[in-house]
């Protein structure tokens, strides 16, 4: 281990890549019974990772060349699959994001999960996730990335299904795993395509080879599209987007960490990881852009009609991921990554705040929370509003800057459709987020509402909000920290930009167009329109939900068909259900099972029965009558003689 000590960078990196795993093993094997100890182990592990991540970020902030460590994980003939670390600016940034949010969430969970029977298990899985995620982030090669990508999926499965006694939870976990697996098949095939077409899976070499057009364009396009399937699965893009809302079955911190901030962003991260590779194939980029746009719009519409607070944020997550994919697809490398960063911050914030509400009022329905008196919980209320503002891209919050960057990139596109879509998205985003805020802030009692429930609601709120115990503060601090980040992060976007683009992966020229557009007059027009649209959305929400006497019924109520369409997620799930029932279960499974029982097994048993029956038949040759036997014998002789003569 001397070589470790000699190289602190390596030491830090390997700490990130091992400590959480160790903590998981330790927790699962030894400290399942000792809840606090498990939590301590896990949190200290993630804290260590956070420190080393920050250390790496600091030491390597000026490193001209990415630092890379590799060891052969398996060697099969001429194929070498390395395990190692690739420490460049992108990975370091992402590593930091993951570490920070994971740390905060784990602290938060101290409060949120307090008293849960599966406390230790929860922290074990959290560690598993942290380990997989961080090792994936600093993976130097596509295969290592894929491997930990799968492990992240596993962690997500376990955490979504954490309340496994709830049927819907385990169902959601299964759905998430299988749907992402569906995308991963494409990812895997894409990797193989690269392997066959190019032969090296190192990320850096892939990127620069693609840029230098040393890979056949057809191969690049094919593999890029296949790999994008993985993104579609992981980042819940259209058409594989329906698992993410269901994934909200998991504990809220989990949703905050995995299903908004980090894991679902892994798809986007992976895409920006090999961005030059994608950029080398315009077709792939076009597809990406298209998918991103569709996803963004669909998800926003869904968010506009949901009443479950977590559902709303889930949809908004999807749509924001759509934004990122759009940005990348439009060639805005920095815009995508930047939005990923900011979004990680404020979306985690939003979820954690909602978590506090849910924890206090034991309901997910925003109307219930409102009636319960959600506004009396000052801290989360304020923080959530901050988050919402950031989400809708209001100056001077972080969301504003990243959205602007994206808009700039879109504006740079010759075809303005994308820009229009983006602006529309911004509008809807503002609308649905403040729809939620107002619903909690200004609760309305519907005419038909039993006083009893309302009363209890008030009671338990008063009783809850009365004492802000340790648990509450354990949840409150991370929230406030995140809020702080959200407030300030935006102002660093220039530094971040230089940090990333100074010496990142080769930059696509679309980038320059984007930035170029970012400084002209058009830029201000764009800026103005975007902000005004966002404000318009907020006002609209105010008119419908905020102001006195507002019916708190979205305009969509007037178009029940449309509302049903949105509320049912555009019937995407129904389509899948249908396919599953009629194609998989009704079709192949049924067919093959029958074939197995009837045809194959039937044939085997048939042969056996035939044999025994044959015995029964043949045994008639041996009759009891001695003379018949003699006839048989003589006939035999005759046959033999014939045999000879002929």
């Amino acid at each position: 281990m001397m070589w470790l000590a000699k190289d602190p960078v390596l030491l830090a990196a390997s700490a990130c890549a091992t400590l959480p795993f160790v903590s998981m093993v330790v927790i699962l094997i030894f400290t399942r019974r000792y809840r606090s100890m498990s939590a301590a182990i896990s949190i200290s592990a993630i804290a260590a990772c956070l420190l080393s991540a920050l250390y790496l970020l600091w030491t390597l902030r000026h490193a001209p060349e990415p630092v890379q460590y590799q060891w052969a994980w398996i060697v099969s003939n001429d194929m070498i699959i390395p395990f190692g670390f690739l420490l460049d600016r992108l990975s370091l940034l992402m590593l930091t994001i993951v570490a920070v949010i994971a740390f905060l969430v784990q602290v938060y969970s101290l409060g949120y999960m307090a008293g849960d029977p599966g406390f230790s298990r929860y922290y074990a899985f959290q560690s598993l996730f942290a380990w997989a995620m961080m090792t994936m982030v600093i993976a130097p090669g596509m295969l290592q990335l894929y491997i930990f990508w799968e492990l992240v999926g596993l962690a997500s499965y376990l955490l979504i299904g954490f309340y496994y006694e709830k049927w819907s939870a385990s169902q959601a976990g299964k759905k998430a795993f299988v749907m992402t697996r569906l995308g991963d098949i494409g990812f895997f095939l894409g990797i193989i395509a690269v392997l066959l077409g190019f032969g090296d899976l190192g990320i850096l070499s892939m990127n620069e080879a693609a840029q230098a057009h040393r890979i056949a364009p057809s191969v690049v396009t094919l593999s890029a599209l296949l790999i994008f399937c993985g993104v579609v699965g992981k980042s819940a893009q259209f058409p594989l987007l329906t698992w993410l809302p269901d994934a909200m079955e998991g504990p809220t911190p989990v949703s905050a960490l995995l299903h908004s901030a980090t894991m679902v962003a892994a798809g986007v991260y992976m895409m920006s990881r090999i961005f030059p590779f994608f950029a080398a194939s315009p077709d792939a980029m076009a597809v990406t852009l298209f998918i991103g746009t569709v996803t963004m719009l669909l998800a926003s519409t869904m968010a506009m009609v949901a009443y479950d607070i977590k559902q709303v944020w889930a949809y908004s997550t999807i749509s924001q991921l759509g934004f990122m994919v759009m940005a990348l697809g439009a060639g805005g490398y920095f815009a995508g990554v930047f939005h990923l960063t900011t979004h990680a911050g404020f979306k985690a914030l939003l979820f954690l705040c909602s978590g506090i509400f849910i924890h206090e009022y034991h309901t997910n329905d925003m109307r219930e929370i409102g009636r319960g008196g959600g506004r009396k919980l000052i801290i989360p209320m304020v923080c959530m509003t901050v988050g919402a503002l950031a989400l809708s891209g209001i100056f001077p919050l972080s969301g504003f800057f990243s959205k602007e960057a994206i808009m700039g990139v879109l504006a740079a596109k010759p075809n303005k459709v994308w820009l229009v879509a983006g602006l529309l998205g911004a509008l809807m985003t503002a609308y649905y987020s403040f729809r939620l805020i107002f619903m909690i802030l200004f609760p309305r009692q519907p005419a038909h509402h039993d006083a009893a429930h309302q009363g209890t609601g008030h009671d338990d709120h008063g009783h809850e909000a009365g004492h802000h115990g340790a648990t509450f503060w354990a949840m409150a601090w991370p929230v406030m920290i995140l809020a702080g980040i959200t407030l300030v992060l935006g102002f660093f976007h220039k530094d971040l930009e230089h940090f990333l683009l100074g010496a990142g992966p080769a930059v696509h020229e679309a980038e320059f167009h984007g930035e170029g557009a970012g400084h002209g007059l058009g830029h201000y027009v764009l800026l103005f329109s975007a902000v005004s649209l966002a404000l318009g959305g907020i006002v609209w929400a105010w008119l419908e939900f905020g102001r006195k006497g507002a019916a708190q019924e979205g305009f969509l109520r007037r178009y029940p068909k449309v509302e049903a369409l949105f509320a049912n997620r555009w019937y995407i799930d129904h389509a899948y259900r249908w396919l599953l029932d009629h194609l998989v279960y009704g079709g192949f499974t049924n067919l093959f099972t029958r074939n197995d029982r009837r045809v194959i097994d039937g044939a085997i048993d048939g042969i056996c029965r035939f044999t025994v029956g044959g015995g029964r038949v043949v045994s008639f040759l041996q009759s009891g009558m001695v003379q018949y036997n003699l006839v048989l014998m003589v006939a035999g002789v005759g046959a033999v003689i014939l045999f000879f003569v002929l």
Binding site: G624, M625, Q627, L630
Partner: protein
């Protein structure tokens, strides 16, 4: 009229008669007799071959003598067995003895 073939044909006829007898007669004694017929057909052949073809004249006759002796023994054994059967089944009809089959 005095050629080998005549005797051979005769022997063959005897043999086949015996064979048919064995197969067709339902009476055990009858079957036994038919078997004797078959043997005699064989004997006739031996004698004939011996008479017309054989290099040294003795062999066939010796064989015949042996066969006759054996036939006698066979008859004795056969009769005794049939007798044993008769004691139990009170019949010498072979159709009574068809229990074991399959």
């Amino acid at each position: 009229m005095n050629s080998l073939s005549v005797y051979l044909v005769l022997g063959a006829v005897l043999f086949s008669l015996g064979l048919f007898g064995v197969i067709l007669r339902r009476n055990l004694i009858g079957m036994l007799i038919s078997i004797e017929l078959m043997l005699n057909g064989a004997n006739l052949n031996f004698m004939a071959f011996n008479r017309f073809l054989a290099p040294e004249p003795a062999v066939g006759q010796i064989v015949t003598l042996f066969v006759m002796g054996i036939a006698a023994a066979e008859a004795a054994i056969g009769l005794s067995i049939i007798l044993a059967l008769f004691r139990r089944l009170h019949s010498i009809n072979v159709e009574q003895a068809r229990r074991l089959e399959g």
